[in-house]
Point group: C2
Chain length 178, copies 2
């Protein structure tokens, strides 16, 4: 069964990027990427917000994962010149989540970010697993893990933790079974 | 040497209370309080914001810790009828931090919260240790661990972690030595 996984680094104070979208502050902590290759191999489809997509297109090499697999960008504006496996989505999340799981063909779906995409999936109760990499840094301000929106408590089940030499702690949470 | 310790529970998305200040969502996770008695015994003085002070006065029994030891409330308004060991402070943080450490007389200083008090101490680089209890809950909105303010990266050293049966993970960070 395919899962939708939010795999992302977050500061101690809950930010995923500086206010201008920067992630250079993550550089000293790249030992936490030790398992990324395995994670990446487990992913059959990706979904992300518009800003995250533009950031990845600009900063990642052309053979980056999002060029190889089904990728959905949450946006209301046309995407322009993009690979054939990349499409825009502006509608409801539940049917998209089902479609992504089918497209992943036995692999998982990576919810890449940013905060608005994560908020949309959380509000739809469509996040099956969190892999939060808590970085030992206070940023003070920036892009929040969860974009501002309505209060609404959702509890998850802690299933694993891993501590890296740099001080990053990975926290793994699964969706609660009813 | 006395340390200023921020000992506090935080949701996965970085909130310490709901928007109305509520902390009932913490109730299912009180196994994480197992070490609170030991922590409390290690504390010789406390400092907190006005809202946190009013909340504790309202909800905690009269013999609560803040009635027994030196307590400073960060506020610009008079405190009214309070115990003799409780005073208001509206000025700079560095002299207050030094005064609190002296008052703690070999014990530590508890920075109780909320987000504005934590922000003030963090901006003054006056937090020696964090004991963050990450609760496996997304709140969606509420009172942030760090009240909104300026961006400003501060890195800390992870020194310990502890996982509780309820899924709470305690992350302990110390101030970086220069």
């Amino acid at each position: 069964m395919s899962s939708i996984v939010c795999y992302i680094a977050v500061s101690m104070d809950g930010f995923i990027a500086t206010a201008d979208g920067g992630v250079d502050w993550l550089n000293p902590f790249d030992d936490a990427l030790a398992g990324f290759r395995d994670f990446d191999a487990s992913i059959g489809a990706s979904v992300m917000g518009r800003e995250t997509y533009e950031f990845m297109r600009k900063h990642l090499p052309p053979a980056a994962p999002q060029d190889r697999r089904r990728t959905v960008v949450l946006t209301r504006r046309p995407l322009g010149d993009v690979p054939a496996n990349t499409t825009a989505h502006a509608g409801d999340i539940p049917p998209l989540a089902a479609e992504l799981k089918a497209a992943a063909a036995g692999r998982d779906v990576w919810l890449v970010g940013g905060g608005q995409a994560i908020r949309a999936f959380l509000d739809a109760d469509a996040i099956d697993r969190w892999r939060l990499f808590v970085v030992p840094v206070m940023l003070g301000d920036g892009k929040r893990l969860l974009a501002p929106g309505q209060e609404g408590l959702r509890a998850f089940t802690l299933t694993n933790t891993h501590t890296f030499a740099s001080g990053v702690v990975e926290l793994v949470y699964d969706r609660r079974r009813a």
